[in-house]
C-alpha cells in the first residue's frame, strides 16, 4: 500500500494537481482518501495505472511513501469509515457522493436538506412546476393548528 498527497504525485508526473484529482475522481487512478489530505493506493492498482499510462514504474514507486499495513495507519474513525463492515459487500469500489431524491413534498425536501447539510450533492426531482407537495395545500396542521406553510 502506498500513500501520497495529490501535489506530490502531480510533481513527480509533471502534471497539474487538478489532473491528478480528476484521475482519482473518475476512478482512473484507483486511490482512496485517507486522513490529512492524503490518498492511499494498492501496489497492484498503482502498477496497473503506470502501465496503462506508459509511465515508468520506478519513477512513481520509488518516490511514494510505502505503508506496511494500511488499516493500521488509520485512526479508528477513519478505518471504520473506509472499511466495508456494515456496508454491502456487493458494492462497487466506486462510490458517487451524490443522491437523487424523487418527489418534492415534505418528505423529499427533508431528505434533501439533511443530505445537503451532511456533505452530499442532491438532485431533487419534482414532477410539477414547484415543490411543496400536499403539505403546501393544507391550511393548518394538527394538533397545534400551526399554519402548514
Amino acid at each position: 500500500m502506498y500513500e501520497f498527497k495529490v501535489g506530490r504525485l502531480a510533481r513527480i508526473l509533471g502534471v497539474h494537481r487538478n489532473t491528478v484529482s480528476n484521475w482519482i475522481r473518475s476512478g482512473r487512478l484507483d486511490a482512496r482518501p485517507a486522513p490529512a489530505k492524503r490518498y492511499q493506493i494498492g501496489e497492484a492498482a498503482l502498477r496497473r495505472f503506470c502501465a496503462l499510462n506508459h509511465i515508468a514504474e520506478d519513477r512513481v514507486l520509488d518516490h511514494l511513501t510505502v505503508l506496511p499495513e494500511a488499516a493500521a495507519s488509520l485512526t479508528p474513525t477513519v478505518a471504520a469509515r473506509f472499511s466495508t463492515t456494515g456496508r454491502e459487500e456487493s458494492m462497487t469500489q466506486k462510490t458517487i457522493g451524490s443522491v437523487m431524491v424523487v418527489g418534492g413534498g415534505i418528505a423529499g425536501i427533508q431528505a434533501t436538506l439533511d443530505l445537503a447539510d451532511s456533505g452530499y450533492f442532491v438532485y431533487l426531482v419534482e414532477k410539477s412546476a414547484g415543490i411543496g407537495g400536499a403539505m403546501a395545500q393544507l391550511d393548518k396542521t394538527f394538533p397545534t393548528n400551526d399554519c402548514a406553510m
Binding site: P76, K94, T95, V99, A107, I131
Partner: protein
C-alpha cells in the same frame, strides 16, 4: 429539477446512472421575475389542481403564491398557442422576455450514489362511489377541497363559503373512512392514519372561521384514531368545544330539499334511525398510494405491497427491495407529516451511510473577495428603489422616492430598478458599489425575510460586509396595503426609506463567529432506538459513546416476541447488540449514569459515572433515547391471579411455552388499561395492534379458542388494519366498552370471570376465561435529572418534547440535542428504528461541520453592565450567565453577565430589559434604533 420525471436507472448501489426527462417550462427561469403579467394576460382558464379544482387558474401559472422556485410555467396541455398555434399573449406582455416557446423537452443523465423515493400519495377519489352523492350535490366536498376552502390562500381567501350558493355553512358533517377501511366499495382495506385527526382539526378550525351560537359540527366515525402525541388531548378539546362525535356510518346521502346542502340517514347504536339535514358534508378521503407508484416501482425495480405501497421490513423501514434505493413518506404507508419527516431523515441517514466514502466529494462552496476595510470612511449610502414590476410602481411614485432619497444625508447615489432582485440588477448593484465607492446599501423593495440573504450575497461579492444592507419594505407594508391611496403611499415610502438610510449610516461590519465542532456523539439509552442511532452514526464515520444504565443493551425489545409484520425480534436484536458492541466507532458504557452536562451545540462536555468511576466525554451532539416502560396495572385483578398477564408477560409466555397458551379454551384482552384515563390522558399507540396480533396468534395455536377483545376504539392505524380484519375473519370477537362502564373481573375460586356491557346486544355479557391479557399503558421514565442537565422540555405526560411537532420531530428545542424512541412517545419497533436513524441524520448535519457558522446578529455586553441579572430571566434560550470578574488594576471583584454566542438567537429581549444599556444586539443597537425612530418622527417632533 422541476417538471421532471425519472425514466430509467442503471448501475448499482453507490454508482447509479439515472435518466431524467425534464419537461419544458416555456418560461426561462433565469429571466422570470414572477411578476404575474403572463397569467394576467393569459386567456385560457383551467381548473386549479392546487386548489383541488375548486377555482380556475390560467395556462400560464404559478402553483401557489409562495411556490419554490417562484417562477411561472406554461401548462402545455392547456396553452392555446401550443395546442392551436395562435395567441402568444404572454410573450407580448412579459417585461423580461422570459417566455420561450422554443423550449424543448430535455433528457439528462445523472450519476448518483443512491436514490430516495418520496412520491407521496394521492387522495382517494370518491366520485365513482355513488352512495356518497358527491356527483349530486356541490355541497358534498372532499377533505382536500375543504382544506382549500378554509385556507387564507385558497379560493375563498379564508372566508368559508359553501360551493352551492356561497353562503356561510352553519351545520357541517364529516364522514370518516371514505376510501379507507372499506373493502366493499374501494379495495382499500387499510386505515389511512390521518383522517380522524384532520377531520377534528377541520372541525375546530371551522369554529374559528364562523361566528354565532347556531354552529354545529358532527363527525361520523367508526373508531376515533387519535393515537399520536397530544392527539387525544386535541380530540378531548374538540369534544369540550362542542364538536359532536357520532359512531355511525350514514348509509343514505342525498342533496337537500332545494338542491343545496345534504340530507343524511344513519342508524345509531340502539337501532334508532335518524334523518338529519346539514348545510355541507365533508368526505374524509383516505390516502392512496401515489398515482406514480406503479410506474416508479417498475422503473426502479422495487417491490410494492398489495395496496401499491413500497414494501419494507420493520427493522429497515426505509430500505426498498433494491439496494441503494430508499423509500420514505406516504409512499411507504399512509402516515402523517411528523412520521414522513422523520422517515425522510432516516432515508437520508441510510443513504449517507452507504456513501460515506464519497462524502464531500461533489459539494461545492462559493468563494468571495476579501472584504474592504472601511475604517475611517464616512458612510456612503446607495439607495435602490424597486418597482417590482407594477407591484410597487403601480401605487407608489418610485421616481419621486428616488429623487427624495438623493437628498437624504449620507446618500451619494439612488436609482430605480424594475426588479431589484433580478440577476442583472444584482450585477448592476455590484457595479454601482464599485463606481460610487458605496459602503452602505438600502434596498427599498419587499421583505428581508425572503430577500435579504440575496442582497447580502451581492454585497459580499462586491467586497462589502454582508451586514451593511438595510431593507425598506415598501411593497408588503406599503403598496399592497395602500392601493387606494397612492399619494399617502408615496409619502410613506419616503418615510420608510428615510428610516432605513438613518439606520444604514450607523451599520457597521459584523463578523460571523464559528464554534468548533467535536465530531463525536453521545447517545443516551441502549435500547433499539439508542443502538440504531449509534450504529448509523458510527457507520457514517462518527464516533459514538453509548450510555446504558443497565448491565445489558436491548431494553424493552428483549421482551417482545414478533413485530406486527410477524418478524421475530430476538435474532435482529442480538445481531444489533453484537454489531454495536464490536463497532470500532462505538464505545459502549454499561451501568452508566449521566452526571453533568455543560456547553452547547458542537461542544458539549459531560461527566459519566460508570461502576463508581467518573469520566468526562466531549461531544458535538447528543441523541436522547432513554425509553419508557410498561406500567403496572392497578385494576382488573392484576397481580392476584397467574392467568392475568400484561402484554410483555404474554409475549414472554408465548416464547417460552406457546403450547400451554394454546390449551386455553377462552382468552380475553382488555384494552386501554391505564391509557386514555385522567392520570394518563394519552393513547399508548402500540397496544391495539399488539392485541390483534396476539389474538391471531392464539387463534392459530388453537382455532377452537374463544378470543374476546374488549376495547374503546380500535386503533390499528395504517396497514395494521389488515391484522384487525384478519382477526375478525378468524372469529375473534370484538366488544366495545365505555370508559364509565369498564369491564369487571371476578376471581371466584378456580374461575376467572369477565363481565362487560355489550352495546350491540344491549345487555351485559359474562365470559369465563382461562387467560386475561391487559393492554397496560406505556409510561415514561422519570426524566427530571435529564431535564435539569440539558434544560430540555417534556410534555405534561413526561415524554421528551421535540422542537416542532410536525417539521422537527426528532430535534429538541436545545440545539444539538435529538430525541428518538419511546422517551418521545409510545411507538412500535419500526417507528423507533426510523426515529433513531432520523436522529442520527440530524445529528450528522451538526457533526459534518468542522465549525458551526453562527449568525452575526448576537447580543454583546458593554462596560455598563452592573450585573443586576434582570436579563437572565427573560432570555428564552438561557444564553446568559452571571459571572464574577476582577477589574483590571485594582483587582476588585464585580459581577457581570456573559452571553453564549452559540445559544443566543439575537432576539433582543435582554437589550429591551436592561435598565443600564449593559447589553445590546449587534445590528440593532440602541443608537441604530434611535436613529431610525428619530427619522420616523422627524416631521412630528
Amino acid at each position: 429539477m422541476t417538471l421532471s420525471e425519472v425514466t430509467g436507472i442503471s448501475g448499482e448501489a453507490g454508482d447509479f446512472r439515472v435518466s431524467v426527462k425534464q419537461n419544458p417550462r416555456y418560461i426561462d427561469m433565469n429571466r422570470c421575475i414572477a411578476c404575474g403579467e403572463c397569467a394576467a394576460k393569459c386567456p385560457k382558464k383551467v381548473d386549479d389542481e392546487f386548489n383541488a379544482g375548486i377555482n380556475k387558474r390560467r395556462a400560464a401559472y404559478i402553483k401557489y403564491g409562495q411556490a419554490v422556485p417562484l417562477k411561472y410555467a406554461i401548462d402545455a396541455a392547456n396553452c392555446i398557442y401550443l395546442a392551436r398555434g395562435k395567441c402568444r399573449a404572454c410573450e407580448k406582455f412579459c417585461p423580461t422576455d422570459a417566455i420561450d416557446f422554443e423550449d424543448k423537452e430535455k433528457n439528462v443523465d445523472v450519476n448518483v450514489g443512491s436514490v430516495i423515493l418520496a412520491p407521496g400519495w394521492s387522495p382517494f377519489d370518491p366520485k365513482g362511489v355513488d352512495y356518497l352523492g358527491c356527483a349530486e350535490s356541490p355541497d358534498i366536498v372532499t377533505s382536500m377541497e375543504y382544506e382549500r376552502l378554509l385556507s387564507a390562500s385558497g379560493p375563498c381567501m379564508g372566508h368559508l363559503k359553501r360551493p352551492s350558493d356561497s353562503r356561510e355553512p352553519k351545520k357541517i358533517a364529516w364522514l370518516q373512512c371514505v376510501g379507507s377501511r372499506n373493502l366493499n366499495r374501494c379495495d382499500n382495506a387499510y386505515c389511512s392514519s390521518v383522517c380522524c385527526m384532520y377531520a377534528i382539526k377541520q372541525a375546530l378550525v371551522t369554529a374559528e372561521h364562523l361566528e354565532g351560537d347556531d354552529l354545529s359540527q358532527t363527525v361520523f366515525y367508526m373508531d376515533i384514531r387519535s393515537h399520536g402525541k397530544e392527539f387525544d388531548r386535541y380530540f378531548e378539546k374538540a369534544q369540550a368545544d362542542g364538536v359532536n362525535f357520532v359512531r355511525a356510518r350514514p348509509h343514505t346521502i342525498e342533496p337537500g330539499k332545494d338542491g343545496t346542502g345534504v340530507t343524511m340517514r344513519y342508524t345509531l347504536d340502539d337501532g334508532k334511525v335518524v334523518v338529519e339535514d346539514f348545510d355541507m358534508a365533508v368526505l374524509s378521503v383516505g390516502l392512496e398510494a401515489s398515482k406514480d407508484a406503479l410506474s416508479l416501482a417498475d422503473t426502479f425495480g422495487i417491490a410494492l405491497d398489495e395496496f401499491r405501497f413500497a414494501q419494507t421490513s420493520s427493522f429497515a423501514p426505509v430500505a426498498s427491495s433494491r439496494e441503494g434505493v430508499f423509500v420514505t413518506g406516504a409512499f411507504q404507508a399512509p402516515k402523517a407529516i411528523p412520521r414522513s419527516v422523520a422517515e425522510a431523515s432516516a432515508a437520508a441517514a441510510d443513504a449517507a451511510r452507504l456513501l460515506t466514502a464519497a462524502k464531500g466529494t461533489l459539494t461545492r462552496s462559493k468563494s468571495y473577495p476579501r472584504e474592504k476595510d472601511l475604517a475611517g470612511q464616512q458612510p456612503r449610502v446607495g439607495v435602490f428603489v424597486c418597482s417590482c414590476g407594477i407591484n410597487i410602481a403601480g401605487v407608489v411614485d418610485v421616481k419621486e422616492v428616488v429623487a427624495y432619497a438623493e437628498g437624504l444625508p449620507h446618500v451619494v447615489y439612488a436609482e430605480n430598478n424594475l426588479f431589484s432582485c433580478s440577476a442583472d440588477t444584482q450585477d448592476l448593484i455590484a457595479k454601482r458599489i464599485e463606481e460610487h465607492n458605496l459602503n452602505r446599501i438600502v434596498v427599498a423593495a419587499c421583505t428581508p425575510r425572503t430577500h435579504e440573504p440575496l442582497f447580502q450575497d451581492t454585497l459580499r461579492e462586491a467586497g462589502l460586509n454582508a451586514y451593511l444592507i438595510e431593507m425598506a419594505n415598501i411593497r408588503n407594508q406599503n403598496a399592497w396595503v395602500h392601493q387606494n391611496a397612492p399619494e399617502a403611499a408615496t409619502a410613506k415610502a419616503k418615510d420608510q426609506v428615510r428610516m432605513a438610510v438613518a439606520k444604514a449610516a450607523l451599520d457597521y461590519p459584523l463578523a460571523r463567529d464559528a464554534v468548533p465542532v467535536t465530531q463525536k456523539a453521545l447517545v443516551i439509552g441502549g435500547g433499539l432506538a439508542g443502538m440504531g442511532a449509534a450504529l448509523n452514526l458510527a457507520d457514517q464515520g462518527f464516533e459514538a459513546v453509548l450510555l446504558e444504565k443497565d448491565a445489558r443493551l436491548g431494553g424493552n425489545a428483549w421482551h417482545l416476541d414478533t413485530t406486527p409484520k410477524g418478524e421475530p425480534v430476538r435474532p435482529m436484536l442480538e445481531e444489533m447488540i453484537q454489531r454495536t458492541e464490536n463497532h470500532a466507532n462505538i464505545k459502549v458504557l454499561k451501568n452508566a449514569a449521566l452526571k453533568s452536562a455543560t456547553g452547547s451545540v458542537g461542544q458539549f462536555v459531560s461527566k459519566i459515572a460508570v461502576d463508581g468511576q467518573t469520566r468526562a466525554v466531549t461531544y458535538g451532539a447528543a441523541v436522547l433515547a432513554t425509553g419508557a416502560r410498561e406500567s403496572v396495572p392497578t385494576e382488573y385483578g392484576y397481580g392476584e391471579d397467574a392467568r392475568i398477564l400484561t402484554h410483555l408477560e404474554f409475549d414472554r409466555k408465548l416464547r417460552e411455552d406457546a403450547a400451554q397458551l394454546g390449551q386455553a379454551q377462552s382468552a380475553v384482552f382488555i384494552q386501554c388499561v391505564g391509557s386514555r384515563e385522567p392520570n394518563r390522558p394519552y393513547c399508548s399507540r402500540v397496544c391495539c395492534t399488539h392485541t390483534v396480533k396476539s389474538a391471531i396468534h392464539l387463534k392459530t395455536l388453537n382455532p377452537a379458542m374463544n378470543v374476546y377483545v374488549l376495547y374503546r376504539d380500535m386503533r390499528t392505524y395504517g396497514l395494521n388494519e389488515i391484522l384487525y380484519q384478519k382477526a375478525r375473519d378468524l372469529g375473534v370477537i370484538f366488544i366495545r366498552y365505555d370508559v364509565d362502564q369498564k369491564p369487571a373481573v371476578a376471581i371466584e375460586g378456580a374461575d376467572l370471570k369477565v363481565t362487560v356491557d355489550d352495546p350491540i346486544v344491549q345487555r351485559p355479557l359474562k365470559i369465563d376465561t382461562d387467560l386475561l391479557v391487559l393492554a397496560a399503558a406505556i409510561e415514561p421514565h422519570a426524566s427530571d435529572e435529564l431535564i435539569a442537565l440539558y434544560k430540555c422540555g417534556v410534555n405534561a405526560d413526561g415524554f421528551l418534547n421535540e422542537a416542532h411537532p410536525k417539521l422537527r420531530p426528532v430535534d429538541m428545542a436545545v440545539d444539538g440535542l435529538f430525541v428518538a424512541g419511546l422517551c418521545n412517545y409510545p411507538k412500535p419497533v419500526d417507528e423507533s428504528i426510523e426515529q433513531a436513524k432520523a436522529a442520527a441524520a440530524r445529528a450528522a448535519t451538526v457533526l459534518s461541520q468542522e465549525a458551526m457558522q453562527l449568525d452575526a446578529i448576537k447580543s454583546f455586553v458593554t462596560d455598563d453592565c452592573d450585573g443586576c441579572a434582570l436579563c437572565l430571566d427573560v432570555c428564552p434560550y438561557r444564553a446568559i450567565k452571571l459571572e464574577e470578574q476582577a477589574t483590571e488594576g485594582n483587582g476588585q471583584v464585580h459581577k457581570r453577565i456573559v452571553t453564549d454566542k452559540a445559544l443566543c438567537k439575537g432576539c433582543g429581549l435582554c437589550a429591551a430589559t436592561c435598565p443600564k444599556g449593559g447589553v445590546h444586539v449587534h445590528g440593532f443597537t440602541l443608537d441604530q434604533l434611535k436613529a431610525q425612530v428619530s427619522a420616523a418622527l422627524v416631521d412630528v417632533v
